[in-house]
Symmetry: D2
Subunit: 461 residues, 4 copies
């Protein structure tokens, strides 16, 4: 953990923040049955109940276990079952087999959360030094990451079910209003003259170690597109044979398209399919679907027609890169993205409890902040820097110059993943509102499609 | 379905039998949480809730759907989700992915069962001809098979969990009494002079098509062991390097031993292991465990020390065959087994409701009928023809001379599996009491270890 | 090795027989380049040069190494490289990686053969007792088996090459003459009244241990087809949707058809394909090929149009079983086949050197003895018991009642394969002429298609 | 192809250069038997004869086929068999199955080369414009790349053979002299003040498109180690548990170590092993080998004891990265490497014909230029920028700012691999002498170990 983790507030504030974040996890799990919370749909995803337990284990292990004298773990087996990848802490249960665990069940896990929460409140109320406050704060940011993962993962679980169940009902949206707001003439690309820019986190607020140190980067003149690539634009790419033209793809990407039979973004399905066209193993049968009956998309609120005005979501880096090439553009680098975003964004959008209790905008993937929320035409809306989809960059995820991982097991948090993955920027509609930052560095393998991922274009000037 | 399915009783009797069998499935599922009922631990197993739904689908599809005019399915998607392998009925959901389905949940499946049960009772009460009575009877035997599968499968699910949960608590057993009864001088091998014997089902009772036609078989003189191979004998085999000597094994079996790292029967674990030694991925580390701390075994009633007096259970055909070779014997053929059993058995033992409500003997695998049940020393107890473990035979599972599968989709029930599998005889402690017969032919692939399988020896005379 | 291995002739005869068999292997390898002899096309096949070395290793290890005092192996590494599966002899090089070995090359292997041949001739000339004569004789039969494997395997290697090379040129055949001879009215099915028949080898001639002991078998009345199923009949099966109807197939067979995309026998290719339609990875694209441009077949003499009059070859057991079901018949059991063959066959046909030097009939798979060889219309020709294709039976390959494997490493020859495989009878056009017998039991996994396999039908009477 | 490919000399010079490069490929293949040239040891490698044919196909397809009117291909099937990955040119034979092709054999391929060479000489002699001269030059650089691949691949083929054959005999080396030259006090680390540096190719000489455009990069102050990490240092890393400590590794790297059982660099084997310890499938059995009998290494000149003074070779990026972390350092970025190298190197070392005919230094991997070649103590020797091993960098392989791939099929040469791989710099002892440059960008997946790869360390200042 870095010295920059310093925003931990006073004892009362920290306790309150702790309880809020912890409660929000339970709010997210609330619409899900015991069965829903048990299933693991692929090795990359985890069951909902595992997320609930793992985030609890994190506090139990790194805070209570190491710093609360005499603390007795709720169940010694949990140290084995709910360690995700911390080698320094001991052996761990195999990740791809998390879905084999029916026990502990959701009631036991709820009790586990309550017991650890009580112990944590007592621990925090006792007064913490800066280092421990920072550690608790890190645990909360860790839990917020898992809140997003929980939603990503349950969407995949429900999407594997041919009956297409919804996570929750959609709040009716004033679609017309959005469309109208969007119908203004297209905004202009955002130009940047290049030169030396400062990149990375600074200041007192919390950040992860991988956002540091702040450092200079040298840019060539470039421009970024003023909005995200939309489903409508993606349909044009598909209609132009985008998934059939190897010249548009990286070699590894083309191999992946062939092997997995991709012909549209994840969760898109032909509108005229039946039950056997859905779920795992459903075979695509041709790229001319878009011309025939159109496409529907599985979302957290059920299956809806693809909306051409929405940002495209659930595309892999390979697809994003191929699309950019098809469009005569490229993906932005991390530094380019951050340099521009820093000059355009006044407010970071994200998910809050209201979204899940029906008071705010829907959970529909990629749904931009509706007109009633912040008003049309603001930079935050139109340009969608955060709050819509994570944006793939051209940058491989690696260490910043001078990067040092945190000491101890916590140091395994980010640093050990700095190869083979691509960096993403921004934040998605399912990212907790106070979790992302303009310096935030997300990362996934280039074939991943279950995160809420889209893209923005760049060109050289 | 064959003409021999003729034991279907009158309308009242059939309704009562129907309700009994259907209720017993629910009784078996009752100790299991929603989470337990959702997990699929390997491609060969199915979730409990899938068994509950599939057996219901069988009646809905083959009885109501085909013979009740105007019947509307409870949910059209179920025809896709709960078809197991009937190609003639249409496409089906991929078997290895049954564990991905969180929906329908156990409440919906309970409702599905109730609705179909109601419709079935109405249908049966209306009066059925012989053919339809036979069809309903077949559905009941099908459900009884799945009752056994349900127990096999949930044992595997719970066995995959490092915390070693029990399906239900064990009823205390009078171990001493059993041991005492067993301590008499060893019974003698059962000799048979060979010659022509009649094999297969005859008479009015129900049987599956694969038990017919009854036909003559020619035997050489042989003898069968008067009891099943025990855990104590298996420990001797292990101590003698049984799992390390390729000369004892079929080539395919030895390859399987190497690939899977077998060093003891399924569910046996070193007594001195910790949580990370259990569950999938737990690596064995040597064959001298038996000499050190001994072995424990995961059972439906939790983890217990291996009892040397009990029949060994959960061994594959490869292991049974290797053991027999090590012992200077061989496995019996199907015909040998049936020829001897027909002369020794007065009562077929099996599982009944009492076993599950605490009134009878435990569910511990391989537990033979206790002394209080039938008295010691009878042929039925000592010789364990049924009610303990399924007994591997030397016979590949194939058609009897003159075999004809039933017509229509039902004809896919048995006949299409008649290659690559080995026949088993007898019945296990989890086989419903009125489900097995001395002519019953069970079958599994030779590497299968999750059925309740053991062995009896044979020698040429 | 069994007592029945007693045909080993006197010293001179044995030496001459040894040299003949050894020379024939070299004759078979002669048309092949160093490159051809090095390739392994799948895990089941072995490179030609490996066959040449392994058969030599067999004599070196089991004869010279064990019985020639002071014998020094030609190269100690060969014991590791050229052991096929004899666990008792020590570790061995991994089978699927035999194609990785460029060294020793074909010149070194030729030298190895010469050195061992010299040592063997000296050893034999010294005079052998019955047991050693039998052991040498076994080595010769072992080498004959590998002669057939060599041809099977090189056909597969060359068949994997999109340029479709031939092993050797075909001798022109008088096709008209054969067709004419065949145009007589169809011969009648051969009926058998059933009852007890004696099966298995007896007498002084050589046999493998798996052909013993001779024993009684009990048969029901049945009839066998008087000839093998032809390519023309197979085309009818294909045209009738044989590869698209799951009701015709065993469950495992149907799964294999789906997984591997079978739509015709191995080596059949659409007549109108181009180079990218051939070799591994070439995708089939529909079952209506037979109706369009017809089919060609890759053979040892190159690519030819499929000849409807020839016995179908290179079909798996799954296909043979499905065909028989489609035809309203079944496959014969081993005992049925042997009982009938014993009454019909006067001469066992097979491959001899003349076949390979252009003086006899061609090597075209399934080519029956031509008219010039034995004359048309004899039982041997029409009924094709041997010398055409191996004939799948309904019998799983297992031990005969009372079977005892030979002692020592040689005992691994046959016995350890007695599960999961199906028995075949007869012999193929590439089986050395004096190698097969009516009691000979060949065996392959039910999915194997690279052996020269076909079928004969049976029906119950 | 970029505008920078401009060094193509006049007609005579080009013809001579063409013949030299083409002849050198044949020289490299000369010590190899037909068997050696046929084997493919893993999907990543290709048979020698495939390299010989593919480089020929490149000229036939891109030069003669497109620019020589009326040119008839030597064999139409070669377009399918010898296309490596050019999607724009048509379908191609599956890469992992190149080892299945016994035909065409080495004689046919030699003839193919001669025919194309003749046609090419005629074509070049006719006079070429700049664009075509550049295209021919590109083909020559392509062939030089395959010369290195040929040596990498044949080393792997021979290394898979338990008998450990050598590609050629080693020329005796004056080891003492080298050691003496090295025994001076250790040279100092090379410091760099950071700032803006220009990176990438400029000028008239040939380069690949991925080396352009030359552009500015911004560096922090850093230092590079003055020599490559040696085998002796690697042994210290191993002795300190380098392969057993997850904290030293990237997560993907640690997974790879576990899965593949790495415990030393590729080609290292325990000195006390026997034949079954070598070749594929040989299991490592512990990390304390270094302390016991030491290690030997398979090289192109046979098996030798590991020489502590030599640069370590055949380590993956994962290993290089872990080593650097263990040493308290990091890997340099591409820009850091190039910025320093540009100031230190006066001559690029590499492989020339003399090396292979016994007149120069040996082919032993990692062998630095010997004292007799350039004199001891020069920067080029001690610092080993080229001519020893390729040096892994911290940089993912991606496009330079403003990068544009060449037009047409040739554009698939480099650009489509710009994800998932790591960049390497320098050049190896098997890289043709005039093939590498200080701006040259090589790239491999981070798990690759069969290239001649080592590392140099970096630290922040």
């Amino acid at each position: 953990m870095t010295a920059s983790v310093t925003e931990a507030p006073g004892t009362e504030g920290l306790t309150s923040q702790f309880l809020d974040v912890r409660a929000f996890t339970e709010t997210l799990a609330e619409p899900l049955s015991a069965e829903d919370q048990t299933v693991q749909s692929m090795p990359d995803t985890s069951p909902t109940k595992w997320h609930r337990a793992h985030t609890t284990w994190f506090f139990e292990t790194f805070v209570l276990g190491e710093h609360q004298p005499g603390y007795q773990p709720v169940d010694p087996a949990y140290a084995y079952l709910f360690n995700s990848y911390y080698e320094a802490v001991g052996p761990r249960y195999s990740r791809p087999q998390r879905g084999l665990l029916s026990r502990p069940g959701i009631d036991e896990i709820a009790a586990y959360r309550r017991q650890v929460d009580e112990a944590m409140v007592g621990f925090v109320d006792h007064g913490l030094d800066d280092r421990l406050r920072a550690l608790v704060t890190l645990g909360l940011h860790h839990e917020q990451q898992h809140q997003e993962l929980l939603l990503m993962d349950i969407k995949h679980v429900l999407g594997a079910n041919p009956t297409g169940p919804a996570y929750r009902r959609a709040r009716p949206r004033a679609v017309g209003a959005v469309a109208e707001a969007r119908s203004d003439r297209p905004p202009e690309w955002i130009e940047h003259p290049g030169g030396v820019v400062a990149i990375g986190h600074e200041g007192d607020g919390f950040c992860f170690d991988n956002e540091t140190p702040r450092h200079d980067a040298l840019l060539q003149p470039f421009a970024l597109s003023p909005s995200l690539v939309t489903c409508g634009q993606w349909l044009e790419f598909m209609a132009d044979g985008g998934y059939d033209r190897p010249d548009l793809w990286m070699s590894d990407g083309w191999g992946t398209v062939q092997t997995r039979g991709w012909e549209a973004p994840e969760y898109w399905r032909p509108a005229d399919g039946d039950v056997s066209d859905r779920g795992p193993g459903a075979a695509g049968d041709g790229g001319d679907r878009a011309e025939r009956g159109g496409w529907v998309v599985h979302t957290l609120t059920g299956t809806h027609p693809v909306d051409p005005a929405e940002p495209v979501c659930h595309v892999s880096w390979y697809e994003a890169d191929a699309y950019a090439r098809w469009a005569g553009c490229r993906l932005p680098s991390e530094a380019e993205w951050e340099a521009v975003a820093a000059t355009r964004v006044d407010r970071v959008h994200g998910l809050d409890v209201a979204d899940l209790t029906g008071e705010g905008r829907g959970l529909h993937p990629g749904a931009p902040p509706g007109p009633g929320a912040t008003g049309p035409g603001t930079a935050g809306d139109t340009e969608q820097w955060t709050g819509a989809v994570w944006q793939w960059t051209a940058s491989g995820y690696g260490p910043y110059p001078g990067f040092k991982p945190a000491e101890g097991a916590i140091g395994e948090y980010n640093g050990k993943f700095m190869v083979n993955q691509q960096a993403l920027r921004g934040g998605a509609c399912i990212t907790p509102a106070d979790h992302t930052r303009l310096t935030y560095r997300n990362f996934f393998y280039p074939a991943a499609r279950w995160p809420f991922t889209g893209l923005r274009l760049a060109v050289d000037l």
